[in-house]
Amino acid sequence: MNASGLLLAASVLLPLAMAACCIVRPFRARALSLLGVAPLPALLAALLVPDGTSAFFPPPFRMSLLLDRPGAILLGGAALLWSAAGAFASSYMGREPAAARFAIWWLLTLTGSLGLFIVADIANFYLLFTLASLAAYGLIVHEQSARAHRAGIVYVVLALLAEAFLLLAFVMLAAGHPDANPAIRDVVASLPSSPMRDGIVALLILGFALKMGLVPLHVWLPLAHPAAPMPASAVLSGVVVKAGVIGLIRFLPFEAGLPFWGNVLIAAGIVTAYFGVIVGVTQTRAKTILAYSTVSQMGLLAVLLGVGLDTADAGATSLGAYYAVHHTLVKGALFLAVGILAATGRARLRPVLLLTGLLALSLGGLPLTSGALAKLATKPMLGYGYVSYAMALAGAGSTLLMLHFLSIVARDARENPQSSAPTGQIIPWLVVAASSLVIPWSLYPAIAGESIASLLQPAALWKVIWPMLLGGLAMLLVRRITKLPGSIPEGDIVVLAEAGTSVIQRLAAGIEQVDVLLRRWSVAGLSLIVVAVLLGALMFRA
């Protein structure tokens, strides 16, 4: 293993080792302040390690790592946000008694979510996916409020459901393979010719869509993300949902293409994109609005990947990653901004609000921001059909949602006492905000294959400006509807599902009664005889 391989390995091992070191009390006490350091190897790896580098852990671990273009893009953005949010957390959570526990869950989630971007074999992909999913539960319920508790339960149920779908899909993928733990690349190459192809793809899409929060599997996301402490919300919404994105990128056969499933993804994505906006506008809490915006943005990403799958365009993976990294940084910065705004007094509010506004509108596609770049980069692939217009309109929806968000945070900040956020929080926020502007620019030529100058042409600007204007107009309309705020509860359709719990309760109570009956001596004796007769008769007939 050469230096770059070691760096790659370190990006998984360092956070894991730090989590393990928390067994020792002195380290545990200090763990929170070191959170910002843990993702640094991953950041360096994303910057320095050339594409195509691989690393292999010997048995019994059997983990293989591989850095490719989409992985590197996502890894870099994610590591940056993790690092900044970690630094933010050490200032934000500093005095809390349970901070050490928070740090352990944080490090475990971090290990899983960063490892997913570089892992190359199927078993360890599942391992890291599980780690990221389950450890995130600790972050969600950290505040121990009733709200966090409910969110945690909904989250865990759906996360485990996703695990089950994916396990079955992975087992089916690997079943025909001679190697017990094959490389993802190999199984995906043989996927289009697999007899169980449709079943596998359906399970994969279900599992990863649950993770991404595509409608109607998004219910956990608007509950869970706002429930966590501020820095954790930032990484959950910014990075951890990307586990679903990298899953789709890794496991769907973009080179061969699957038109039917591509269209399924497109349809689910468009529905999600609009659904997130429509429900999001009715929300009155800033973090919930951001979570719904994440739902909507994940819908857009699903459309991108769906188009790639439909047209057998492998370039969709890089474009998807590009879009995802834009969302990672912007959404992370926005969540941190909510924390900063809550701590900023009226006197210094203006610059903070200004930057927040810039970030928020970037999601809607404000010209010269990463949002505009991401939208322009993906335009050619979307073509000029209905999908393209649907995406542009979704941009208008994002603008609307973000304007709503801004009005809410501005309203909330008005009552703040005179104070200012600690520097330990402001600097990480500024770093993420700045990099959300800089990184997409630096990647643009390589991803889109066009020069930066092309971005400044009026036609390109107009492409992103008209949806924003539409969004602004819609905002004016929406403000007129006074009944709107709060009309849809957080988590929307989960409320329907929760109404169904009484049926499950009855069913379980019925099972309990059957158990009491079966455990009566005479009934058990009879079942003993019945089983014996059944067995004997069947074996006799054989």
């Binding site: 048995p59 089950a164 396990l167 087992v171 379980a508 067995l535």
Partner: protein, 511 residues
Amino acid sequence: MTPLAPASVHLATPGGYLLVLAVTLPVLGVLAMLVVAPRHARQVALVTMAAGLVTAIAIVAELIRTGTALTYVVGGWQPPLGIALRADGLSATMIAMTAMVITATGLFARGLYALGPKAQDGRAPTTFWGLLLATWSALNAVFVGEDLFNLYVALELLTFAAVPLVCLDGRAETVAAALRYLMFALLGSLLYLLGTGLLYGSYGTLDIQMLSRLSEGGPALSVALALMIVGLLAKAALFPLHLWLPPAHAGAPAAASAVLSALVIKAPVFLILRLVLDIAPPHAAILAGQILAVLGASSILFCSVMALRQARLKLMIAYSTVAQIGYLFIVFPLAAGNEAQAPWETIAWTGGALQLVSHAFAKAAMFLAAGVIAEAFGHDRIADLGGFGRVLPISAAAFGLAGLSLMGIPPSGGFIAKCLLLTAAVLNGHPWLAATILAGGLLAAGYVFRVVDRALATPAIALVAQKPIPRRLELVALALALAAMLLGFVPLEPFGFLQLGRSGAMAGVAP
């Protein structure tokens, strides 16, 4: 009518005496306890455990070294007149697992009984040590037995040692639970014995190796096997014959519960495996396997829901045992061999064995952790345990890690086992079994999560331990849980050691 197979079925191997040692060492320990003063029972037990552990390791090492099964022919008398002891890869695995779990339980019990200075030399601890060793001896006898009647005696010994373990504390509830256990187990053993009689009447031998060479079935064989399998099912407490298990395992003292749930019910399961795979004619085995799989699947689903509904921690773990045992029965259709592959060469065989072993470690860890919790707070009502993770972080970690193995979350033995079984279900075209495995995992996640959620909670009134718990006790549970986790590092393929001593699988065995 009585086709006696050639006399030289069993060739004694040099390491065969190790098997005798494995069975007799604990008996010697029990005898020594009767001789020495009660207060020395603990030392005798610990010494015996050390010796037994070494024996188990020696058996495994010898098996790996020679690459064939260890055999001992008692008194040099060949079956059908004599009795043979034999350990193949699976038996050796069971022996090693038993030795480890028993030793861990012994260390735990030593710490627990040391808590009350008066209790240390009391009647309950002394009885406990004797019964623990007797259970161990009986378990080893079941794992190495080749003669079906000899196995009957071993099973009865196991029952007689296990039943008093249930009611060590002498409360009315536990005595009732023990009686219920004894009654149902007796019913099971008598059915088994009846089957043995029929087999002997028809074939004139009870040696498993000799019976396995009979190719033709017949009414007597079917009836006998059905009786024996059902008798064993009653002892294994598979749904719907689980009436005795929840009160017995939940009422027993923690250390006893661990042994009962982790090991004792595995003995009948192990025998069913041998009856179905070794003796039953192939067609009958497939049909019997299907019935067993249906029962196993119902066990997984039904008892997992029951576990989810329990208010008390130990009852929950007990129901979870019934559910997890179900996985061992869905192995039968999945491991059904074909022309190309014998059952023990399939991944389902490895998966089943791994499930058996990892469940033993995980369940023992869970019961020990639950014992620590009940000891510390004086109760085990799950709803009132909010925040126990802060008071007993190591026990909470042990419970959580063991839970991961039960849920089948990587990296753990339970995950590899479920993954292998799932692969087998997919490859052999059993979608319902695949769905059951996944649903069982989800339900297991549900009941484990209920407890983990309590561990992480911060209640309004902080929970305080009623008495200090030595760290050593908690560490034993954690060590068992970690063992279940470490099993997650075995590769996802048929495991060579488990095929040792199985006919037709001599070649290509990985040392």
